[in-house]
Symmetry: C2
Subunit: 599 residues, 2 copies
């Protein structure tokens, strides 16, 4: 792969600069034809984002305007530095939950600080971590978050979020809780405190959202509207629900008459420049949470960005994404926001509404800024139950039972990783849960590679192919055993290999030659090399000669650096198993029928 | 491999019992001819063991008789349950150091308890851990201690031991120290307090030991002694040094006149039955140390046992070794001993002095018991400097610089693991040092497998072989790219694979077919499968079809469980790369010359 990419990289100094500031690349070549799509998509996302941003801010334990502020600077800055052309950056559900959890978990003097102050610090820390990861090319660290761990975590997070919203959705009086189990029990114990009006608004909003998402588009199209317009209106579920809720409160004064909680006063005007409080003690306390927010936010963003880019044969540069998201989070930290990421839902909407370039994100940011500047009084009496409904509908689709079933069918180790992460996140919290999931999936992987599949092979018919004696009717050779090991040799499986090969030699005293077939050995580390050396000597004491066959180029290069090749003599390294058979057993002339068993 | 072993296992009920109590196997078939070898070897080891056992006990911070007691019951019990015929079990240097460190590290009420009481508990815990590992077949856990980690740890431990003995060897007045660095500085600061007589005895003993080891045998053989007798006397270095030191003290009353420290009174008679103090708080505090003593002791024993067994085409059963060593440690715990293991030096002596069966170990145990029963008054005035010399000479050979140099040449990652373990054990102690070494070696392994070697391959001449375009002069096909990935596909490398393949498709818009060659893919986990599915869709959006080739049997079995094979259509799974080339590019008919570059 490195051939063509090497030739095309670094064509000029300009490309080196635009590589790190992608805006220079797309703005310089902006085509007029892209404008309508960008304007429409940016507007649709802004309409979706205003109620969603407020809702996610409430989920994060912030005043609603924090969500709006986080919807201005971050998408604007991402448009300059991000490598995705259609990723919609701003408040997202999971990062909001993690922000709430991180702040709720603080003790001591920090607990007395206002939430938004802490959120600024979290955003600044996440942003710095992302930039550092980009600088030191540590993006690969997210590779160790396996799909089952992500899936288990996401499902658990969605359930935690939904339970946390029941209070707002139904207007319950629930005391503050610590952890998921406590919150669930507290909510269940206070179900009788339901406010009927609030519950009606909340459930009504859910029905509107589901209707808009599932039926509205086909209904409108059936009424004769152009499909594109119908689809655009279909994306407007949150704004329709918000307007309906707002209308009901205003029409019947439900906030004063029926105890329906509303958003309340939102300061008008753009956010001030804010400076995160850089307190070392606080930074140390928030570090694990900031790290996870950065990692998970990055992972979510990159997977969406990659999926959308592929649809247009575009490319995502993970290191550039780290830069873009890091800068966006720093932007949030200095403009009254809180941690942001690329959201799945809004990015898909942005893409399918026609966004061609990051200009769409700039349009979104400008429109949200207009709302913040001039229309906050309108939002005053918006019922919180509607925002809770928006959150619940948005995250319900994150609960992923299918992945568990699939994993169970395909590979039990994956299913175990998913289930353990899910259960541990619910029972012990996000950080411990994810750590447990990562530890388990790495342990299971290591365990598997520590006991590699090994097969005694024999000649298939008169061919030059050698296959597993248990799967195929093959011929064996008296005195020569061919063993294929299906794994790279490294310290964790080297004792296993040694035991199995010594056992083979002890069990069959007739064996004079043992040929280890290395077609699946991609690497031999120092421990394994020492083991092979010992094996050569130990087998020699038993009167058995060890040979290798089908050793790959890079492995062979390394073996030739030491004395191993000389020490294994009279054992040889054969190019192919067939060569070994011809040299050691006279090839086709002396096949032994006892192996003709097959399966 | 499983074919023949399955057939030979479980031949009868008797074999199932003798499998777990090996003494029944070897005692029932004992041959008279084995007796002389066993008697001589057992006697030689006993002569070596009496001074060595006392020396190691002092190293562990115990009174000397504890080392003798640990040389009676443990070898006796190991003879009944161990699977090695020649392993000599008893006090060893590393376990003694670890015992001393574990006890010195205790704080609170535990620090007031006498050392031997704590050592009994450590032995009981290590024994129980070994038995539990045998029961749950957890012996594979030791596989994760790589050779570089062991080597780094052993070298560091040897240096710690030698520094700890300087005080006794030279008769210095050094205050009690905490940790290696503190001990080294303390010893250096008090070098002027040297006792000249003690130093003379210590250095003299070292010279005797080195002479006995390197020159004595050839000298005696030159004087006309049969080689076997000369060799047996050559093993007696420790007893010669001890007798010389004892003679010097007695002749000149050096203990009273010159301040030479001696062993002092040793209680006569066999050890009483002892009961370890099973205090839960203490157990929790000692657990990490007991675990490491068990793991490292097991590893040391198994590697010696395996090496010796191979010389006679015998087999070591690691699970049985866990049972044998576990019982031996429990034996030590109930008879006034301390943690034991199979020692490298004494086992080699046992083997080369002619031991044929575990009867040799029984002979050793009986002879040490006789010494303890009747000859302890003789040991009273043995100078401690001689015991320190025995320790220093025994462990000096454990310092292993060659391994570091070899690792550096062969594989830098191994060298890093070794160096980090070595430095961390010296700087931060045994437990942290080993943990750091394990973590680093696993991390480096995971890092390597997360960035697998990938190669664009082409047809080699007119053959059916496809090789790396960068290493060989091969032919490529327009519109078809063949990519070989040299690693199993799992969550940690799946994003890397995705990025590389998508980049290939983006960089060369001519590509219509991408063939992933899976000859080195031993496993595809659920995350990687999902990635492949996404890749199929993403490539399809780009107008590229993904195919697989050379998928192995077990991997194919798993792929067929899900919908992947159907979903990847029109992409196909080809038996060989050649088949894919014929089907997709018309085989030999349309080779493209642009790849004929080679290297």
């Amino acid at each position: 792969m490195s051939g063509p990419s090497r030739q095309s990289a670094d064509r000029s100094g300009l490309s080196r600069i635009t590589r790190h500031v992608p805006v220079l690349a797309w703005l310089g070549t902006y085509r007029r034809a892209d404008l309508p799509g960008d304007l429409i998509a940016g507007t649709v996302v802004a309409i979706m984002l205003v109620p969603q941003g407020m809702a996610y801010a409430l989920l994060a334990g912030m005043p609603p305007e924090v969500g709006l502020y986080a919807s201005i600077a971050p998408p604007l800055i991402y448009a300059l530095f991000g490598s995705s052309r259609t990723l919609a950056v701003g408040p997202v559900a999971i990062a909001s939950l993690m922000t709430a959890t991180a702040i709720a978990g603080l003790g001591g003097a920090a607990a007395a600080l206002p939430g938004p102050v802490l959120a600024l610090l979290l955003a600044a820390m996440s942003g710095t971590i992302l930039l550092a990861m980009g600088l030191f090319r540590l993006g690969f660290l997210t590779n160790f978050l396996s799909h089952p761990v992500i899936s288990g975590f996401t499902s658990a997070a969605a359930i935690i979020i939904i339970v946390s919203q029941l209070k707002q959705l139904l207007g319950l009086d629930v005391p503050k809780s610590h952890g998921f189990v406590d919150g669930l029990l507290g909510t269940a114990a206070h179900l009788d405190s339901v406010n009927a009006t609030t519950a009606a608004i909340g459930v009504g909003a859910i029905l509107i959202l589901l209707f808009a998402r599932r039926r509205l588009v086909s209904l409108l199209a059936g009424l004769g509207l152009p499909h594109a317009v119908a689809a655009a209106i279909g994306k407007g579920g949150p704004i329709i629900a918000a307007l309906a809720g707002l209308g009901a409160v205003v029409a019947f004064d439900l906030d004063r008459n029926a105890g329906v909680r509303v958003v309340g006063a939102i300061p008008a005007g753009l956010p001030d420049f804010t400076m995160p409080a850089l307190d070392p003690v606080l930074i140390r306390e928030l570090l694990p949470a900031a790290l996870l927010i950065a990692l998970i936010g990055f992972l979510e963003s990159v997977s969406v960005a990659r999926a959308l880019a592929a649809k247009r044969r575009q490319k995502i540069d993970p290191d550039q994404e780290l830069l873009g998201l890091g800068m966006a989070n720093l932007g949030a930290a200095f403009s009254g926001g809180y941690p942001v990421a690329g959201g799945f839902g809004r990015s898909v909407v942005n893409f399918s509404a026609g966004a061609n370039t990051p200009l769409a994100s700039i349009v979104t940011a400008v429109l949200v800024a207009l709302v913040v500047g001039f229309f906050t009084p309108v939002l005053h009496r918006l019922p919180i139950a509607v925002l809770a409904a928006i959150i619940v509908v948005a995250v319900a689709s994150l609960i992923d039972v299918r992945s568990l079933l699939r994993a169970w069918r395909y590979n039990r180790a994956d299913a175990a990783g998913l289930a353990v992460t899910f259960a541990a996140v619910l029972a012990a919290g996000i950080e411990i849960g994810i750590a447990a999931g990562i530890a388990l999936s790495l342990a299971l992987y290591l365990w598997r590679t520590s006991r590699p599949h090994m097969a005694v092979v024999g000649r298939l018919g008169d061919s030059e192919h050698f296959r597993n004696v248990l799967r195929h009717p093959v011929r064996l050779y008296p005195g020569v055993q061919f063993v294929r090991v299906d794994e790279s040799l490294y310290f964790a499986n080297t004792a296993y290999l040694e035991d199995r090969l010594l056992a083979a030699a002890v069990e069959d005293p007739e064996i004079e030659h043992l040929v280890l077939i290395c077609s699946a050995v991609n690497f031999i580390d120092g421990s394994a090399l020492e083991s092979l050396e010992q094996l050569v000597h130990q087998l020699r004491e038993m009167g058995v000669t060890l040979h290798l066959a089908e050793v790959k180029g890079p492995v062979m290069d390394r073996l030739e650096r030491g004395r191993f090749v000389a020490d294994m003599a009279p054992g040889r390294i054969f190019l192919s198993t067939h060569d070994a058979a011809v040299a050691l057993a006279g090839g086709e002339r002396r096949p032994d029928a006892r192996g003709l068993t097959g399966k």
